[in-house]
């Protein structure tokens, strides 16, 4: 299968898989709370409904940023699944986060503004770890290309366990799960009204949700590359990770922003930084580690 086709497949299939994943998420959450929960297609009903609603705009330009968010998210994922350069993928990924913050910032509504501020703090918390992944990958296999990662004989996980677990820690922030769900208050619908998405209604809100589905599939794809030589294990680990995130989401109350920032930076430093220092020592002084 050509890499171009894989990129196109992502563009077509990611919203379907992402929506199903979201439906699975809501059912599992309901079961944890002793409820029956919605049908698995509920996220599609929600997005379909939002598209059929009236578009209320505070500023016309807010649509542009939302479309920017969706397009940059699709480009990120398509580049990733078309096995391009990992570093470029991560930079475009950051851009999509910036679009959402700008969309919420410019409106001037206090709830939207606080949501955007918190989203920036979340970005501060997760970006260092996200950027350490390509660094670690380069030190392990000497290339940023995702094609080379997929062709490497051994799973990256054995060289980058620290980076993998550090990534799991910040993944909670990226998936907008508790205890780190500060900016959008995905489950606590009353807190901050709806944070960063307060001022978006109808089709714009549907586009933000769609971008989130694309993002979730990409995030699970990054887990896949840690176990790339064993595809079945990799898919199982990705699904298991998502289930774990749902359990964590339902087990912890929300933390304050300073704990979020401090804990993710410490995790990044200890797990991510420690892993990279270890890799450096192994590559530079192999004699030290040949017992």
């Amino acid at each position: 299968m050509s890499v171009l086709l894989q990129g196109l497949l992502y563009i077509v299939l990611a919203p379907i898989l992402g929506g199903l994943l979201s439906g699975f998420d809501r059912i599992l959450t309901a079961r944890i709370q002793s409820r029956v929960g919605p049908p698995i297609l509920q996220p599609f009903y929600d997005v379909g409904k939002l598209f059929s609603k009236e578009q209320l705009l505070v500023l016309k330009s807010q649509s542009i940023f939302v479309i920017g968010l969706l397009i940059s998210m699709i480009i990120t994922g398509a580049l990733f699944f078309a096995q391009q350069d990992f570093l470029i993928v991560m930079f475009v990924f950051s851009l999509s986060g910036v679009f959402l913050v700008l969309a919420a910032y410019q409106i001037g509504s206090p709830y939207s503004f606080v949501g955007a501020e918190r989203e920036l703090i979340q970005m501060l918390a997760y970006e260092p770890m996200i950027l350490l992944i390509p660094v670690g990958v380069y030190m392990a296999i000497g290339s940023f290309s995702i094609q080379d990662i997929l062709n490497s004989p051994d799973p990256l996980f054995f060289q980058l366990p620290g980076i993998f677990f550090g990534y799991l820690y910040v993944l909670t922030i990226k998936l907008r799960k508790g205890p780190f769900d500060l900016s959008a208050s995905h489950h606590a619908h009353q807190e901050l009204v709806k944070g960063i998405t307060t001022e978006f209604s109808g089709p714009n809100l549907a586009l933000i949700e769609l971008a989130h589905w694309y993002e979730n599939i990409l995030l699970l794809g990054i887990i896949y590359i840690f176990f790339a030589p064993w595809p079945v294990v990799a898919v199982l680990v990705a699904i298991g990770t998502y289930a774990l995130e749902i359990f964590v989401d339902n087990s912890f109350s929300r933390v304050k922003w300073d704990l979020l920032l401090k804990s993710s930076w410490w995790m990044t430093l200890i797990l991510g930084g420690g892993n990279i220092v270890y890799l450096y020592l192994v590559k530079q002084f192999p004699a030290l580690f040949s017992f």
Partner: protein
């Protein structure tokens, strides 16, 4: 039935209720009744909501707030007056500061009487409101419902 009635998101506002009806609204949202089975989600944001639940009568203090919430909701939308105070003013009808029921200020689609209104009645009212939501959507589209919103029709 379109997707509209499969995902009704509600917003709840307490007018000048004694809190009896509010507690019943929250009871209807708890795991025992599990309204998320029908896709119902309690949002705190009028811009995301389709159904406006009001408990309690309208008075001088909240008249502007109720109008504001109603106007911030995107079309199509329905309003439910929950409890006897919201439907007609109830025992507070003759108070000097009370205007009366919610329909004095904004158009009400479903009246759910009761003091306090039962969770089963609330869910029944919301299900009835879904039919009205469908009709409103068809009116908005002028019978041509293949088009999406955004004033395209």
């Amino acid at each position: 039935m379109s997707v509209l009635s499969k995902s009704p998101w509600v917003i709840h506002y307490d007018g000048s209720s004694c809190n009896g009806c509010d507690i019943e609204v929250l009871a209807a949202l708890m795991p025992r009744f599990d309204v998320e089975r029908f896709g119902i989600i309690n949002t705190g944001n009028p811009k995301h909501a389709d159904i406006f639940l009001i408990t309690g009568s309208i008075n001088e203090q909240n008249i502007g707030i109720v109008k504001n919430i109603y106007e911030q909701m995107p079309n199509p939308k329905v309003v439910l007056a929950l409890g006897i105070c919201a439907t007609s003013g109830g025992i507070f009808k003759d108070c000097y500061n009370v205007y009366g029921g919610v329909d004095k200020v904004i158009p009400v689609d479903v009246y759910v009487p009761g003091c306090a209104v039962r969770p089963e009645a609330i869910i029944d009212g919301v299900v009835k409101a879904l039919g009205i939501l469908e009709k409103k959507r068809e009116q908005d589209c002028g019978g041509n419902c293949s088009c999406s919103g955004e004033g395209a029709c």
